[in-house]
Amino acid sequence: MNLFQLALKNISGNTFRSFVVALCALLLAAFALFTTLLLRGAENSLRLAIDRLGADIVVVPEGTEAKVEGALLMGVPTKVWMPQDVVKKIATIPGVEVASPQLYLATLTGASCCSVSNMFMIAYDPQTDFTITPWLMQKMGKGLRLGEVVGGSYIFPSEGYQNIKVYGYLVTLKANLEPTGTGLDQTLFMTFSTAQDVSSKSTTQALAPLEIPSNSISSVMVKVLPGSDLHAVSAQIMQTVPGVTPIESANMFQSYRKQMTGLLKTILVVMGIAWGLSIVLIGLVFSMAANERRKELGVLRALGATRRFIFQSLLAEASLMAIIGAAAGIFIAGLAIFLFRNFIMVSLGIPFLLPSAGVFTLWVGAGLLLALFSVNLAALLPAIKISRQDPAVAMRE
């Protein structure tokens, strides 16, 4: 038998104490991992969404920023319009390399095509597009033709079908983009000509027509020349083109970032309180247990255990309970995030993307370390106190 085995036997023999300490470790690790996964997942999602949009500046009709961000981030379709001639105006502004228009459309509500009741659709101009086309060229070696679409990672045809029916028009899904955890994952991308074709045929083929106001666009994706000042270009757009709002990529999804910052602050406060309470509770449980086991520890000292052995043995018990509790907590938190991620996204109104296996492993390790550190910190004082006690006094009491 060694110190580790002795600690293990003591843990299994003191079920209530072990349960309380392990439960605290479980809650700490689960809460820490859950919130980290959630916030990091949301942050990751935002970053990927900005990368996917690929624009330095997104120009939208004045006052529609929140709607557009909501559509791009949460997949809530929106219809916003501005005159098409803003593209030309923007393209001539010094510092602008490319200005490419997009149309924001939506499928019919409850359409049979889709996994969501109202699917977001983005139409782009293949002549100027620099967001979807480069990806298509890399992936398929060619752009989309009439009637062809690409979808977010959640877009797929119904089982047994090759095509997706949009307003009674059959489009062919050519590829799926990588997941971002945002509304872009449930968005259909098509060219202007396909959108116009769907719109014209929808008048006879669909329950309701897809209406695209003439000479109108929803947004302009702007790429600035390398070395140009993004703020200066944005300011210039504001001055030159009335009725639009330029959103710089760094400022995209500001309202969601604020929401997440608020959420993070709340979580940090709750976690701080939970952590403090856990430390106090574990410390109390250990103090009580050490007092209960005073005689037993005195006996060990009489049998030849050093102060260090007693100290290490108590901390070994604490560590084992922390690891057992934290492992259970991590499993529960991981499972909860995996199973309820969509529900969490909708409830909290934030995007979310599961991390890679490597990053997840790193966070699991961090969760375990947090639980280990916390439980050992709580057990430290009782362990020091009991290990320094005179064995004769300990056995007498």
């Binding site: 050093t306 260090r308 056995m395």
Partner: protein, 226 residues
């Protein structure tokens, strides 16, 4: 083997309020002796035993184990010495409730660098056989009677082949018959193994088991040869 030189132990109860438990006692424990220390409750006999084992620091005086002052040693050296040279039998139930009888018996081997090997297993089995509990290896303390538990404690005390066995009122919680059995066991261990035994008791009739007795009162040796 163990020498207590002008040993005094005073317990501080509250600020400025102290109780002298042992007052300037000299005691020489020689190899092979079976010393019985008798006295009423509070006479200082248990404190004297604890002082002899280095379990409590004397207020003044020296505790010498084979010429070495115990309190000149580090905690590690003192603990190692205790694990190798001294066996303990306590008045209260002192088996670890979470360990089996076997694990309790081999427990002292952890403290002198022992490993779980065949020799240890054989020694534990032999000792449990000697105390008549060979069939209780895998039992837990709660499954044993008070007398059986005390026998396991004796087996545990002998595990590291100590030179001296210190027993603090080992029969006070036992019925008369079990008390006699345990005392016979001590006598047998003393004669067959030649082990030095120092036993504290408040039962004067047990004095006859020893080779020498000491009587204590108010922290002083009042009778017998110290």
């Amino acid at each position: 083997m163990i020498t207590l030189d002008s040993i005094t132990k005073t317990y501080q109860i509250a600020k400025g309020n102290s109780v002298p438990a042992v007052r300037g006692v000299d005691l020489e424990i020689d190899r092979g002796e079976f010393i019985i220390i008798v006295g009423r409750s509070g006479s200082g006999k248990t404190t004297l035993l604890n002082l002899a084992a280095g379990l409590t620091r004397p207020t003044s005086g020296k505790v010498m184990l084979e010429g070495t002052n115990l309190w000149d040693l580090s905690d590690q050296q003192q603990s190692f010495l205790r694990s190798q040279r001294i066996g303990f039998v306590f008045q209260f139930p002192s088996l670890l409730p979470t360990l089996t009888v076997y694990d309790n018996v081999i427990l002292p081997t952890i403290f002198c660098g022992g490993t779980s090997n065949g020799a240890e297993h054989a020694r534990a089995a032999e000792l449990l056989d000697k105390v008549g509990l060979a069939d209780k290896l895998q039992a837990y303390p709660r499954q044993l009677s008070a007398g059986q538990q005390q026998r396991v404690v004796i087996a545990r005390a002998l595990m590291n082949k100590p030179q001296v066995l210190l027993a603090d009122e080992p029969t006070s919680n036992l019925d008369e018959q079990t008390e006699l059995e345990i005392m016979e066991l001590f006598r047998d261990l003393h004669t067959s193994l030649g082990i030095t035994i120092v036993m504290v008791t408040h039962t004067r009739t047990l004095v006859s088991y020893g080779t020498r007795y000491i009587e204590m009162a108010n922290g002083l040796v009042v009778n017998g040869k110290a």
